[in-house]
């Protein structure tokens, strides 16, 4: 009975791919498969984004002595679906003096860059759309495009609050990109490859990278989480949309689905940051201590998702318990503390590799 094997996503995709190849010429089939994969990913991440919103609302409620959404569907499971439907059906309003072209373009920059990063994610050994040899580099590059969208949104809205928010976003992302990049570089030193699947495989024998690299890895992980939270513009670094100072920041003038793109992109970015952390520090899809390594039918993607959700919960924990930093304190933290620490950490890691002290 092949029943258990059916739950492995690979088998389903393989069946579909075989079927498409059988009815089309080779070139047409490969293009069709690409489109199908893209659509599947798009749907997957729209749903993932919506459920992360729900999770955030539930987590917020737990922190705040509340119950959270519980009316639409069991346990409020359909709440964000209903919200998304509402946002789609809403009229798109805007002010007269906007720069129309840039104003309409901005949300797509943000959401497309977030979705493009998904392409290289190693959910499990077989479940990866695009396994390129510069995966980590691609992720960093793509995720920095999003800030252009935020800057455009703030500039084209012709609103002073939005402009201040966009300026803050620019300086915040440019600063914290360094920390994200350097902490990733520290871990790349350890694995010697930029390919995400190989980074994960390197952890199969030696244990998770956060343990392999001794203290420098742990420091790199902490810096990565701080800088990653700043990259996604979430509290305590949510100066971009600091609602008590700027109203809603860069998306003040957006409504309906365009607003929803910004909103969804924030959650997908959170997913991206957590996923990078899981791949680089916590062994990606590998099970802890190899407990399910010998069970052939066990979908490894579950381990990946559990780890990612754990880190996402950590980021939500930050958001609902910390006050917000001031903009100059934000820059002080990066340039005076995180960056020097990061450079030193990189040196230390290089020495450890050179002396072959890794576990």
């Amino acid at each position: 009975m092949n029943f258990l094997q059916m739950i492995i996503p690979l088998n389903i995709t393989k069946t579909i791919s075989d079927w498409i190849s059988s009815i089309m010429p080779e070139t047409a089939a490969s293009y069709t498969i690409m489109v199908v994969i893209a659509v599947a990913y798009l749907a997957l991440f729209a749903v993932a984004g919506l459920y992360l919103v729900l999770l955030e609302r539930k987590v917020a409620a737990w922190f705040q002595l509340r119950i959270g959404p519980n009316r639409v569907g069991p346990w409020g499971l359909l709440q964000t679906m209903a919200d998304a439907l509402k946002l789609v059906s809403k009229e798109l309003t805007s002010t007269i003096k906007i720069d129309k072209f840039l104003y309409n373009l901005a949300p797509y920059f943000v959401i497309v860059s977030a979705l493009m990063a998904m392409a290289v994610f190693p959910f499990s050994k077989q479940f990866q759309a695009f396994d390129i040899n510069i995966g980590v580099f691609f992720l960093i590059a793509i995720s920095s495009i999003g800030v252009i969208g935020i800057l455009l949104a703030g500039w084209s809205s012709n609103n002073k609050y939005a402009l201040i928010g966009a300026m803050r976003s620019g300086l915040q992302t440019i600063s914290y990109e360094l920390s994200v990049g350097l902490s990733i570089l520290t871990m790349v030193l350890l694995t010697g490859t930029l390919q995400l699947s190989e980074i994960v495989e390197a952890q199969r024998t030696g244990g998770w990278l956060i343990l392999q690299g001794h203290i420098p890895s742990i420091i790199a992980f902490m810096i990565f989480m701080v800088a990653g939270t700043a990259e996604t513009n979430r509290a305590p670094f949510d100066l971009v949309e600091a609602e008590s100072e700027l109203g809603a920041g860069f998306h003040t003038e957006y409504s309906g689905m365009k607003f929803a793109y910004f909103f969804l992109a924030e959650f997908i970015n959170m997913f991206i940051i957590s996923s990078i952390a899981v791949v680089l520090f916590f062994g990606g899809w590998l099970s802890p201590f190899g407990i399910t390594e010998n069970i052939a039918w066990f979908p490894e993607v579950i381990w990946f998702l559990i780890k990612v959700l754990g880190l996402i919960f950590l980021m939500m924990w930050f958001r609902w318990t910390f006050p917000r930093l001031r903009v100059d304190q934000l820059l002080t933290l990066e340039w005076k503390y995180l960056l020097p620490l990061n450079l030193m950490n990189l040196m230390l890691m290089a020495i450890i590799i050179w002396l072959n002290w890794t576990i």
Partner: protein, 373 residues
């Protein structure tokens, strides 16, 4: 190019921005016209009048019993204390002495009001600084106080429990028990507040050394209440000019000398403990007696001027009544704490960041209807 030429070429301009009348940090309809250079504030000009209801003028139309109800709508977070201020002024004019029972009950409820007001301030202060969770913790405890009020006088916010000559009716039989329950509950919750916000390192960074008021400035701008006491200006009316039952309780006036946002924060947090201690001293021995001293159905104050000041949760509230001997006052003037405190905002908010202004305003605890009246 010389430096001057470069400066001319990349000339920057200051710009105006309206903070309010509808802005999350304004806590109501206060409009601040900010002059900003980048993110640095150069000038703050408060623009009032968006919620002006001419309460002082309406008082000239109404009888003395009716004036009490209008004062609820000034500083709605210390409505009981506002009512008390008017009643004390009228009682002063009529030269009637209320019973000890009335005095003690008024004091207990005033302190409960102060705790409720400070709770709300604490929640909102956290929210202004980006820590959204504080709000819900504060409201959990404030809700208990509102329930006590609801049981005793039927209203949760605008209480109207005082009348000239005493209280509208006696306290509810459950009042003492529920107040004691609340005090026991609340004493375990203040440390929780400290754990959540006071000890947070980001909170310290945001508040220490921000919006410093010197003692001299505090005196010359007429600042009062926790804002003045954060600058070391001893101005507690309860201590210096005791009214109601404040002369028979033992409490400290909280003074801090730093004068920054964090000092003002600490004053209010310590005042929570003092209010708890005042209630604890009074709740067990509420004396028996009348809850009303009989007045005539139509109160006519003798010709003359009457003034009484009380300490609300925000500072010193003064009630001035000028009577010509009629059933209506000739002129009523309220010296509200919020208005005087607002006047110093421009003085201390020059060359600070927008986020600092928000933090400073949060520590002032503005209630806009109190500023505008």
């Amino acid at each position: 190019m010389t430096d001057q030429q470069v400066q001319n070429k990349i000339k920057t301009e200051e710009y105006f921005i309206n903070m309010g009348p509808q802005h999350p940090a304004a806590h109501g309809v206060l409009r601040l016209i900010l002059t900003i250079d980048g993110e640095i504030i150069k000038n703050v000009e408060p623009d009032l009048g968006y919620i002006h209801r001419s309460i002082e003028k309406m008082c000239e139309r109404d009888s003395y019993q009716q004036i009490v109800h209008l004062t609820d709508r000034m500083d709605y977070l210390s409505s009981h204390i506002n009512n008390e201020a008017v009643c004390l002024t009228v009682e002063k004019g009529l030269e009637i002495e209320v019973s000890d029972r009335v005095k003690v009950i008024r004091t207990i409820i005033a302190e409960l009001t102060r705790i409720a007001s400070h709770c709300l301030w604490w929640g909102v202060m956290g929210m202004d600084l980006g820590a959204l969770t504080t709000y819900f913790y504060a409201f959990r405890d404030r809700e208990m106080i509102n329930d006590i009020f609801e049981e005793t006088c039927g209203a949760r916010l605008t209480m109207n429990y005082n009348i000239p000559g005493g209280l509208m009716f006696d306290i509810h039989p459950n009042f003492v028990k529920r107040t004691k329950d609340f005090i026991t509950h609340f004493k375990t919750k203040i440390p929780e507040y400290n754990l959540l916000l006071t000890d947070n390192v980001i909170f310290h960074k945001r508040t220490k050394g921000v919006g410093i008021i010197t003692k001299e400035d505090a005196i010359s701008f007429g600042v009062s209440g926790p804002v003045a006491r954060g600058s070391g200006f001893s101005s507690d009316v309860r201590k210096h000019h005791p009214y109601s039952a404040y002369d028979r309780v033992d409490f400290k006036e909280i003074l801090f000398t730093e004068g920054d946002t964090f000092a003002r924060y600490q004053v209010r947090m310590m005042e929570l403990w003092e209010s708890v201690s005042i209630i604890e001293q009074l709740i067990d021995n509420i004396p028996e007696g009348e809850t009303k001293t009989a007045t005539k159905a139509v109160i006519k104050l003798p010709k003359g001027e009457f003034y009484q000041r009380v300490e609300t949760a925000r500072g010193e509230l003064g009630v001035y009544i000028n009577s010509t001997g009629n059933k209506n006052p000739y002129r009523v003037k309220f010296r509200s704490p919020g208005f005087s405190n607002l006047s110093i905002l421009n003085h201390i908010s020059k060359d600070v960041m927008i986020a600092d202004l928000v933090a400073t305003m949060a520590s002032f605890d503005f209630v806009i209807p109190d500023i505008d009246r």
